[in-house]
C-alpha cells in the first residue's frame, strides 16, 4: 500500500487519536503511581542499617534507614564534592540515609556514597523511636530509669513497650482534659465575657438615649437624674458563674498537672551509632519498634497502624510529623457544605433560565456569561470572597449580631462558611450548565402530560421535571466537588490556616462552628512541602497527603456517580 493511500484510508488518524488517549492514560497513571509509591512507602517500617564509611574527611559511623538510592554521573559527583577528584569511576551510587537523632547528632538526613562504605550490618537490637518532637531517634536500649533509679528488668523490650503504653494512656488523658473539659470551660468563659459585654453595651445605649431625651431629664429630680445616668449593670450572676467555671478550671488544671508529673516518671538511656549514650524522657516517645527483628506479619501490622495514625491524629512539629486528621476533616466538611450550598442555588438558577425565562438573546447572554464564569481564575474568587463575603457581609453580620465580641471579628474574618460560599460561587456555573442540560433532555410530551392532568407548572416541576433532572443535577454536583476539593488558592484568602486550634465541629453549642478557620489537605500539601524547615523529613508526607487528597476526591466522586447511575437507570428510556 502506498503512503498516500494509507493516509487516505484514515488509519493514521486512528493511530494518532489512539496514541493521544494512550499518552493521557500513561500520564495520569504515572502521576498517580508516583504519588502512591512515594506516599505509601513512607509508612513501611524499613530496616535500620548500621554503616561505617570513610572519605577524605575522616571515618564515620552511622545508623539509619536508607530512604533513597540514586546513581549520579561523574560530573555531578565532582560538583557535589570537588576535592575528591582522585576517586575513579564514571558513575557513583549514593544513598540517602535517614539517621534521625536530630538535636544530638545532626543532620538527620545525609547522602553517602556507596563506594565509601567500609562496613555495613544490621543490628537486631536497633530500635526506632518515634519522638513527639525532633523526629525519629535510632539506637539500642541501655537502661530504663524510673524517677532517676534504674529498674531491675532494664533491658527488657516488653518492659519498654509497657511503659510506652502507660505514657500513651496518660497522654490521651491529658489530651482529653485539654480538648474536652478545658476547651469547654474556656468556651463558656468566653460566652460569659460576651454576655457581660452585651450588658455593658445595652446600658451605654440606655444612658445615651436618656441623655438625648432632654425633656424627660428636665422633669426629673437631681437625685433621680444622677441615679438614672449612672452606669449600673447587674453582673453578680455572671460573676457567680465565672467563679464556678474558674473553680472547675482550677480542678482540671490540677488534674492535668498531676498527669504531667506522672508523665515525667520514666526515662530511658539509648546508645546511638557513634557510641554515645543519650537519655530521653519517655514522655517524648510516641512509639518504638525494632524493624530488624520484625517478621513480615509484624511489619504489615505496623504499616497499617502507621497509616491509621496518619489518618486519625493531629499533626505535630509544624505539620511535618503525625497525622492529617484535622485537614482531612476540614476538607470533607468544607466540600460537603459547599455541595449543600451550591446545589439548590445552581438548580434554582437553571430552572429559571430553562423553564421560566422567555428564551431570547438576553437569556442567551446570561447563559454565555455563566459559562464564562467557570473560566475565571480561582484566585479571583478568593479575592472576591475576601472583599465581598468577609469584609462586607461578614462585617455587617458582626455589626448587627456580634457587637459584644468586637473589636474581635466573628464572621468578619476568614472562616469555614465563607470558604464554602466562595467555592460554591466558584462551582455554581458547572451545576447550572449541567442542570440545564438535564432539563433539555426531558421531553416536552411529559411536561404536557402532567399539565393536561391539571397540574400547575410548579407541580409539574416538582413531580416530573426535577426528579427526572436529578441525574444531571448530580453530575453537576460531581463536577463541582471535583473542582472544589482540589482548589487551594482561593481558600488561602477565605478561611484555611496552617494550624487550626479546634475542629469546626465539637461538643459546644451550636456544634457546627461556621465562623472557625479550618485546615485543608490541599493547603497542607503546600505548607508541608514548601514552608517546612525540614524538607527531607516532610517530603514523604507531601506524597502521602497528596495521595489522600486524590483518594478523597475519588471517593466523593464515586459516591455521587453511583447515586447518579442509579437514578439514571430509573429514568432511562424516558429521556431524550
Amino acid at each position: 500500500m502506498s503512503l498516500g493511500s494509507w493516509i487516505k484510508s484514515g488509519d493514521p488518524w486512528i493511530w494518532m487519536t489512539a496514541s493521544a488517549v494512550g499518552a493521557c492514560i500513561v500520564a495520569v497513571l504515572g502521576l498517580l503511581g508516583l504519588i502512591a509509591v512515594n506516599g505509601l512507602a513512607h509508612f513501611w517500617p524499613a530496616d535500620v542499617v548500621s554503616l561505617r564509611y570513610k572519605n577524605d574527611l575522616g571515618e564515620f559511623i552511622l545508623a539509619g534507614e536508607v530512604v533513597q538510592r540514586e546513581t549520579i554521573s561523574r560530573d555531578q559527583f565532582l560538583e557535589a564534592s570537588p576535592n575528591r577528584g582522585n576517586v575513579d569511576g564514571a558513575e557513583f551510587e549514593r544513598w540517602m540515609i535517614k539517621s534521625g537523632n536530630r538535636k544530638f547528632d545532626p543532620p538527620d538526613f545525609r547522602w553517602i556514597f556507596e563506594h565509601e562504605v567500609v562496613e555495613q550490618q544490621k543490628n537486631e537490637e536497633m530500635i526506632v523511636f518515634e519522638r513527639a518532637e525532633w523526629g525519629n531517634a535510632y539506637g539500642t536500649l541501655v537502661a530504663i530509669r524510673e524517677r532517676g533509679a534504674e529498674i531491675a528488668s532494664s533491658y527488657s523490650w516488653d518492659e519498654l513497650q509497657d511503659r510506652i503504653g502507660r505514657v500513651e494512656q496518660l497522654r490521651n488523658q491529658a489530651r482529653k482534659i485539654q480538648k474536652g473539659s478545658i476547651n469547654r470551660i474556656n468556651y463558656k468563659l468566653e460566652q460569659l465575657r460576651l454576655e457581660e459585654q452585651r450588658r455593658n453595651l445595652r446600658e451605654e445605649e440606655r444612658i445615651a438615649k436618656l441623655e438625648r431625651n432632654q425633656e424627660r431629664l428636665s422633669q426629673l429630680s437631681d437625685a433621680e437624674r444622677s441615679r438614672l445616668l449612672t452606669f449600673n449593670i447587674e453582673t453578680a450572676d455572671l460573676e457567680e458563674r465565672r467563679r464556678k467555671l474558674n473553680d472547675e478550671y482550677g480542678l482540671e488544671e490540677l488534674r492535668l498537672r498531676n498527669i504531667h508529673g506522672q508523665l515525667d516518671r520514666d526515662e530511658i538511656e539509648i546508645k546511638i551509632a557513634d557510641g554515645r549514650t543519650i537519655s530521653i524522657g519517655l514522655r517524648d516517645i510516641i512509639r518504638a519498634w525494632q524493624p530488624n527483628k520484625m517478621s513480615i506479619g509484624q511489619k504489615i501490622a505496623h504499616y497499617f497502624s502507621s497509616i491509621w495514625v496518619f489518618l486519625s491524629q493531629d499533626s505535630r512539629e509544624a505539620n511535618t510529623e503525625g497525622g492529617v486528621f484535622p485537614a482531612l476533616f476540614g476538607t470533607v466538611l468544607m466540600v460537603l457544605l459547599m455541595s449543600v450550598l451550591v446545589t439548590p442555588f445552581g438548580v434554582i438558577a437553571a430552572l429559571y433560565l430553562r423553564e421560566y425565562a422567555k428564551q431570547g438573546p438576553f437569556v442567551q447572554l446570561i447563559r454565555i456569561a455563566v459559562n464564562n464564569l467557570a473560566g475565571v481564575p480561582s484566585i479571583v474568587y478568593g479575592v472576591f470572597g475576601l472583599g465581598f463575603f468577609i469584609y462586607l457581609v461578614g462585617g455587617s453580620i458582626d455589626d448587627l449580631f456580634f457587637k459584644a465580641a468586637q473589636p474581635a471579628p466573628t464572621f468578619g474574618t476568614p472562616g469555614l462558611m465563607w470558604a464554602s460560599l466562595t467555592l460554591a460561587l466558584l462551582t455554581v456555573p458547572v451545576v447550572i450548565v449541567s442542570t440545564e442540560e438535564g432539563l433539555t433532555r426531558i421531553p416536552n410530551a411529559l411536561r404536557e402530560g402532567s399539565l393536561a392532568l391539571g397540574a400547575t407548572k410548579a407541580e409539574t416541576l416538582f413531580r416530573i421535571v426535577l426528579p427526572m433532572a436529578s441525574p444531571s443535577i448530580l453530575t453537576g454536583v460531581i463536577l463541582a466537588i471535583a473542582r472544589a476539593a482540589g482548589e487551594v488558592a482561593p481558600l488561602m484568602l477565605v478561611g484555611v490556616v496552617k494550624l487550626a486550634p479546634t475542629l469546626p465541629i465539637d461538643g459546644n453549642f451550636p456544634f457546627l462552628h461556621l465562623d472557625r478557620k479550618f485546615m485543608h489537605l490541599g493547603f497542607h500539601i503546600y505548607d508541608v512541602g514548601f514552608q517546612s524547615p525540614n524538607v527531607d523529613a516532610a517530603r514523604p508526607l507531601v506524597f502521602a497527603t497528596a495521595l489522600l487528597l486524590v483518594l478523597i476526591i475519588i471517593a466523593l466522586n464515586l459516591t455521587a456517580i453511583t447515586l447518579r447511575n442509579r437514578l439514571e437507570a430509573r429514568y432511562r428510556g424516558a429521556l431524550i
Binding site: A445, S450, A452, L453, G454, T456, R570
Partner: protein, 285 residues
C-alpha cells in the same frame, strides 16, 4: 372521471357503509338542543405569531358522543383540539379570538382556573407519554394533585380507572412495575386510564392510535366505544376508516377552515361539500 375510478370509489363507499350502519340514526349537530351541546365553538381563530392556523371555526360538539376531526396533515386538527383544554396557552406567541363554551361557560374567562379546566377536559396525545413512574403512580398522578384520598380509596380509583381503560386484567399484578416497560398499546391505554382517573367530562384524543400496531389500534377503538356512554369524546384521526368506525359526528378541516361538520353517516355517504367528498374518496391522500 373514468369507469375504473368510479368503481373504486363505489367500492370504498360500500366498505364505509357496512361500518356506518349502527350510527346512522344520529341527527344534524347544528339542530341539537342546547342541553345536548358540550362544547360550543364560535368564530374561533388562532394565530401562531403571524401565521393563521385556525380561521373562524364554529361547531357544536354534542355531549356523550364521539366527534372525529379529520383533514389532511397540517390543517389544524391538533391546534383545534388543543384549544379545548387551553394547551395552546403554553406556546409563546399564540393569539386566540372567538369563543369556546364548555357547558355554557366561556373557557377563556378570567375567572376560569386552567388547571381545573384541564381536569375537566382530559387529553391523550399521539405518542404515549407515560411518566417514568410505576403503573400505579401514573394513574394516581392526577388524583394526588388535588384529591387527598386515603390509600384504600386511591387504590379503588386506580383500579376503576384501569378497568375503564380495559387494562386492569393485564396490569393487576404489575402495578409496581415501571410504566416504561409496557408495550406501546398498553402505554396508550395507561395514559387513557390516567386521564379517566380524574373523572373528566370530556376526553380529547389526538391521533391516539397512529403510533400503534393494528391490534392495539383495535383495542383503543373498542375502548372508545365503551367510554362514549360516560364522556364526550373528541378524536383527531387521519384514518378515515377509523373515523367512520368510532365516531358519531365528523368534522372536516382543511387549511385551518372548518369545511363541513355533520353526522358521520352524512359526511361519508352524503357529503354536502365537494372538498369533503374529494378528501374522503382519497383525492388528497
Amino acid at each position: 372521471m373514468n369507469q375504473n375510478d368510479q368503481e373504486s370509489r363505489d367500492l370504498r363507499r360500500v366498505n364505509l357503509d357496512t361500518t356506518l350502519v349502527e350510527s346512522s340514526e344520529t341527527l344534524d349537530p347544528n339542530e341539537l338542543p342546547d342541553e345536548e351541546i358540550c362544547l360550543n365553538v364560535s368564530s374561533l381563530s388562532l394565530h401562531y405569531g403571524e401565521a393563521l392556523a385556525l380561521k373562524d371555526i364554529s361547531m357544536k360538539i354534542p355531549r356523550q358522543r364521539v366527534t372525529a376531526l379529520i383533514g389532511p396533515s397540517g390543517c389544524g386538527k391538533s391546534t383545534l383540539i388543543r384549544c379545548f383544554n387551553r394547551m395552546n396557552d403554553l406556546i409563546d406567541g399564540v393569539r386566540i379570538h372567538g369563543r369556546i363554551e364548555l357547558d355554557g361557560t366561556e373557557i377563556h374567562d378570567r375567572n376560569v382556573d386552567v388547571a381545573q379546566l384541564r381536569r375537566q377536559v382530559g387529553m391523550v396525545f399521539q405518542r404515549p407519554n407515560p411518566f417514568p413512574k410505576s403503573v400505579y403512580e401514573n394513574v394516581a398522578y392526577g388524583l394526588r394533585l388535588t384529591e387527598n384520598l386515603p390509600k384504600s380509596e386511591l387504590d379503588d380509583r386506580v383500579e376503576w380507572a384501569l378497568k375503564s381503560a380495559a387494562l386492569w386484567e393485564e396490569m393487576e399484578g404489575r402495578l409496581k412495575e415501571s410504566a416504561l416497560g409496557l408495550s406501546g398499546g398498553q402505554q396508550q391505554r395507561l395514559v387513557i386510564a390516567r386521564a379517566v382517573a380524574v373523572k373528566p367530562s370530556v376526553l380529547l384524543l389526538d391521533e391516539p392510535a397512529s403510533a400503534l400496531d393494528p391490534l392495539s389500534t383495535l383495542k383503543i377503538e373498542e375502548l372508545i366505544a365503551q367510554l362514549k356512554s360516560d364522556y364526550t369524546i373528541v378524536i383527531v384521526t387521519h384514518n378515515m376508516q377509523q373515523a367512520a368506525r368510532v365516531s358519531d359526528y365528523t368534522s372536516f378541516l382543511y387549511l385551518g377552515e372548518l369545511i363541513e361538520f355533520d353526522s358521520t353517516a352524512n359526511i361519508f355517504l352524503n357529503p354536502s361539500k365537494q372538498q369533503t367528498e374529494d378528501y374522503i374518496t382519497g383525492r388528497y391522500g
